[in-house]
């Protein structure tokens, strides 16, 4: 069965320090993987996506994620946190082989301390 596990429900970092948001997935087929960000009272915005091309994916606002098939992971990183990064982050996996199914992680709330 397909599933997405976000290993931390809350992450707190100081401004200017690195960010690491962890995501593991299970998939029977070659998945597409996404990270979305949701700021308070906003909809979801795509940060980046992996779709079987380069395993290191660069997204908006300085975020990156690396697809590691052997570890079934797709962790989100940023070298230096900014106050505006405080938001909810969702890891999402999709498998078009099984229809238009998107599986959402439970979300990680990122707090940035000034």
């Amino acid at each position: 069965a397909q599933s997405v596990t976000q290993l931390d429900s809350h992450v707190s970092v100081s401004e200017g320090t690195p960010v690491l948001l962890r995501c593991n997935y299970s998939s029977s087929y070659s998945p597409s993987l996404f990270w979305y960000v949701q700021h308070p009272n906003k909809g979801l915005q795509l940060l980046l996506k992996y779709t079987s091309a380069a395993t290191l994916v660069k997204g908006i606002n300085g975020f990156e994620a690396e697809f590691k098939k052997s570890e079934t992971s797709f962790h989100l990183t940023k070298p230096s946190a900014h106050m505006s990064d405080a938001a909810e982050y969702f890891c999402v996996v999709s498998e078009w082989n099984t229809g238009n199914q998107f599986y959402f992680g439970t979300g990680t709330s990122l707090t940035v301390i000034p």
Partner: protein
């Protein structure tokens, strides 16, 4: 990309009433998705709305409670019927777009039921 507009952006409703949420997309799309996001939770798919056919509901969601219309390829409505406080959530409209099949979201409709 796809630009999605939802109305209303927020509303406060009385128990037992119904509310219809509208979703307008700036391009023609085959499938539109309706999600629910309960407070502090991740997204749960309610149903998939296909133009010209009945919506497909996920387990735990029924047409009598969440009737959906899809009159054309750019518009859909979701009605939350006979509301109770447990229906207080953000309701999000979404479509699949782009060459890599990512989801695009509206800003969401924030519903509070008293």
């Amino acid at each position: 990309s796809a630009v999605i507009s939802q109305k209303p952006s927020r509303d406060i409703c009385q128990r037992g009433t119904s509310l219809t949420i509208q979703c307008q997309v700036d391009s023609q799309v085959t499938m539109m998705f309706w999600y629910r996001q309960q407070p502090g939770q991740s997204l749960t798919l309610i149903a998939t709305a296909n133009q010209g056919s009945e919506a497909t509901y996920e387990s735990g969601f029924v047409i009598d409670k969440f009737p959906i219309s899809r009159p054309n390829l750019t518009f859909s409505t979701l009605t939350v019927s006979n509301m109770s406080p447990e229906d207080s959530s953000i309701y999000l409209c979404s479509v699949v777009g782009g060459a890599t099949g990512e989801l695009f979201f509206g800003e969401g409709s924030r519903l509070t039921v008293l």
